[in-house]
């Protein structure tokens, strides 16, 4: 039977489930052990979304999701470059994680109850808050969602967006025609060529496509407002608590570092700080790393090699995308980013 690559990936899960040996795995951190032996973190990322994960002309990956892969590699392996990126489609991503093809899924993935439970996954703290947004050609004369009745909408299959727009249009008793294509290039291309009136996805993904994929960015506009809650976070397989904890606390390191004023530039000086919180975080005092199965300097390396959350945000959403931080600000500045106590 001729199948697409994606289906093969999915078949691989079925195959793995069928042939994997039945005995239960060892208790002492199988993922951490495998990562250390391999010397590489396998990280599932988006195939290409500006600001989250995109490979440049040299094949070097950049983006907010990518930086969390790098942060984990810095903490676990001591080098933020020891990451193997696996670009995954929206449909392949969960099977890839479930079957062990990747160690972590940092791929604009919305945390939902079903994914957390029925899919056998766990999610770290949200690394980005966004919501479903719509981009349209200015020429169609639509300025709000109510103007979109009867429109053809390009959307990724298997995404939360797909369900959000179904609910949104149904609640407004409006008709629409979904066009679902899994390949990011094909989907955005279909919108740009005029197959769809609307491109729907997490709103944060839209400015990149407007800036870089449109022949004339000024012909397009992003409809103001977001139409769902999309907390994006890093996913891991359920059942490996230690690895889950590492993902969780590496994320909190980036939040706390920003709150406490530690950046990649001043992290060495900050080691001399009198603040006990900073001393614990950077491994000057205490043994936080050992509790996660890591060394003393794990958090120091995250900040040194990747940066605090503010630095990560600015390097990916600064110019030319210029996406305002909004609710992705620290809680101290009116946002939702809240680092948990590291003690």
């Amino acid at each position: 039977m001729r199948q697409t690559i994606k289906s093969l990936a999915v078949l691989a899960v079925a195959g793995t489930a069928a042939f994997a040996a039945a005995p239960a795995v060892a208790d002492d951190g199988p993922t951490l052990k495998a990562v250390k032996e391999r010397g590489e973190v396998l990280c599932g990322v988006h195939q290409g979304r500006y600001g989250f994960a995109i490979a440049d002309s040299q094949g070097k990956w950049k983006g907010l999701d990518v930086d969390f892969c790098r942060a984990v590699a810095a903490a676990v392996l001591g080098d933020s470059e020891k990451v193997k990126y696996m670009p995954l489609g929206s449909v392949q991503r969960f099977p890839a994680l479930q079957s062990g093809e990747v160690d972590m899924l940092s791929r604009t993935t919305t945390i939902t109850l079903t994914r957390d439970s029925a899919l056998g996954l766990n999610f770290g703290p949200p690394t980005f808050y966004t919501g479903t947004g719509f981009m349209v050609r200015k020429s169609i004369g639509a300025t709000k969602v109510d103007d979109l009745a009867g429109a053809a909408v390009c959307v990724f299959p298997g995404s939360t967006t797909e369900k959000n727009i179904a609910a949104l249009f149904a609640s407004k008793k409006m008709d629409y025609k979904p066009v679902v294509i899994e390949s990011s290039k094909q989907l955005v291309g279909a919108y740009m060529s005029g197959r769809c009136d609307v491109l729907a996805m997490d709103q944060a993904g839209l400015p990149g496509h407007q800036q870089f994929d449109a022949s004339n960015p000024a012909d397009h506009m992003i409809i103001p407002g977001v139409y769902s809650k999309e907390p994006l976070g890093v996913g891991v397989r359920a059942g490996d608590d230690q690895w889950f904890d590492i993902i969780k606390w590496v994320t909190h390191v980036t939040f706390n570092a920003e709150e406490w004023g530690i950046s990649s530039k001043n992290v060495d000086e900050m080691k001399a700080s009198n603040d006990i919180n900073i001393q614990r975080l950077l491994g000057v005092k205490g043994d936080l790393g050992a509790k996660l199965g890591l060394d003393k300097e794990w958090a120091y390396r995250v900040v040194k090699q990747v940066g605090n959350y503010g630095e990560i945000y600015d390097s990916n959403w600064g110019p030319p995308l210029n996406l305002e931080r909004g609710i992705n600000e620290l809680w101290t500045k009116g946002g939702l980013m809240y680092g948990f106590p590291m003690k």
């Binding site: 039977m1 994606k6 994997a20 079903t114 899919l119 056998g120 989907l187």
Partner: protein, 389 residues
């Protein structure tokens, strides 16, 4: 069966016993393997905390589908969503098989034609289309359609029809109760044609008199539905598509995804069928045709009564394989966004996380479609095979 060896009557040396025993052991091993795989899947899924079972089929899907031959919305179940996908697969497969057969037979006959232009075009078609991967065919046509003008600047081949980057729309008669009876009458017409042909054949075999049935047959075919339609007062209202808001509403609509997929797999498979038809025609010994000519048979007669019956023996079995691969190639629709079974199956497994079940559904459906096609073609093959008289 009795053992030949009279000196040893032991049951272990009995052929009958042995054949049964071997099969029983093999069956047992296969069952054990199946059971092992099944329990292993369950155990591993349970250990990973992944939901299992078929309950998802009856829960609401929450996503919409671009085109469907049955009514469907986001409030319907995953089971119905998969049914929509199955029907979409079936639609493109049936249309593809019909179109590829016409194209293939035409090109195959053209390749052996003595007309230089015709045979050259046919051989170029075959060489280009069968040497390009089918994936590229599909993506190529998908791109071509996206390059067509927008709905407001649509190409209008005739009044009421529009060709654009949103597909092709054309007027279609509004449904009417009378059409059911017209359909029945058409069926009567088809039976009439079959009876007419049989009668003409008997008469020819008995008397040698040739009765041309083409025009008579056409009359028998068309007259009953036409009369029924007139008897109902010739009801005909065209549902003419019109541009409302962003898109055309009404009429008969073909989405760009359906067209791209259909054209892609038709061109690809048509090239293979053309080669099969050509090889079938060329497999008929030239002496047969010369003999038929010597008897004074007309060219059409030679094709129909001498060449084709022998060529079909060669043509039908490999064509079955082409039909099967066309059906399976239709799963490439996912690449361009045609909502076929694989497309919806993938979305389902991603929304529910139940990959094993979703894959199982897809495999069972493709297997069933393939088996049905095989059975139909085997029956046809038996009809087409030369009967020794």
């Amino acid at each position: 069966m009795e053992t030949k060896n009279k000196t040893d009557e032991s049951i272990f040396y009995s052929n009958a016993f042995r054949s049964v025993a071997y099969q029983a052991v093999l069956f047992g091993l296969l069952t054990l393997l199946g059971w092992y795989l099944y329990s292993n899947v369950n155990e591993n899924l349970a250990r990973q905390g992944i939901a299992t079972g078929w309950n998802f089929l009856t829960t609401s899907s929450g996503f919409d589908i671009g085109e469907s031959v049955i009514r469907y919305d986001a409030g319907d179940t995953y089971g119905r969503a998969l049914l929509v996908g199955f029907l979409n697969t079936l639609r493109v497969a049936v249309l593809g098989i019909v179109l590829a057969t016409f194209l293939g037979v035409f090109m195959g006959v053209a390749r052996v034609s003595s007309n230089w232009l015709l045979s050259t075009i046919a051989s170029w078609y075959v060489e280009i289309c069968r040497n390009v991967p089918v994936v590229l065919h599909v993506i190529f046509w998908g791109t071509v359609i996206h390059l067509l003008p927008a709905p407001k600047q649509a190409i209008i081949p005739f009044e009421g029809a529009f060709i654009m980057n949103r597909g092709v729309v054309m007027p279609f008669p509004v449904a009417n109760d009378a059409y059911v009876w017209v359909g029945v009458a058409l069926l009567v017409g088809i039976i009439g044609v079959v009876v007419l042909n049989k009668w003409a054949q008997r008469k020819r075999e008995r008397t040698g008199e040739y009765i041309p049935t083409l025009w008579k047959g056409l009359g028998v075919l068309i007259a009953p539905p036409l009369l029924v339609w007139l008897a109902f007062g010739a009801p005909l209202v065209w549902d003419v598509p019109s541009l409302q808001g962003f898109n055309f509403k009404g009429g008969l609509q073909f989405s760009p995804e359906l067209i791209a997929l259909l054209v892609g797999i038709t061109f690809y498979t048509g090239a293979f069928i053309a080669e099969i038809v050509r090889s079938g025609i060329q497999s008929v010994a030239s002496g047969q045709i010369e003999a038929a000519r010597a008897l004074g048979l007309r060219p059409g007669f030679i094709m129909r009564y001498v060449t084709m019956p022998q060529a079909l023996r060669v043509i039908v079995p490999p064509t079955t394989s082409q039909y099967l691969s066309l059906t399976k190639n239709s799963s490439l629709g996912v690449l361009i966004g045609y909502p076929d079974l694989v497309n919806i199956g993938n979305t389902t497994l991603n929304q529910t996380g139940q990959s094993v079940e979703a894959i199982a559904v897809m495999m069972m459906v493709y297997l069933s479609i393939s088996i049905v096609i095989s059975i139909c073609m085997n029956i046809y093959n038996r009809v087409a095979a030369i009967k020794e008289r």
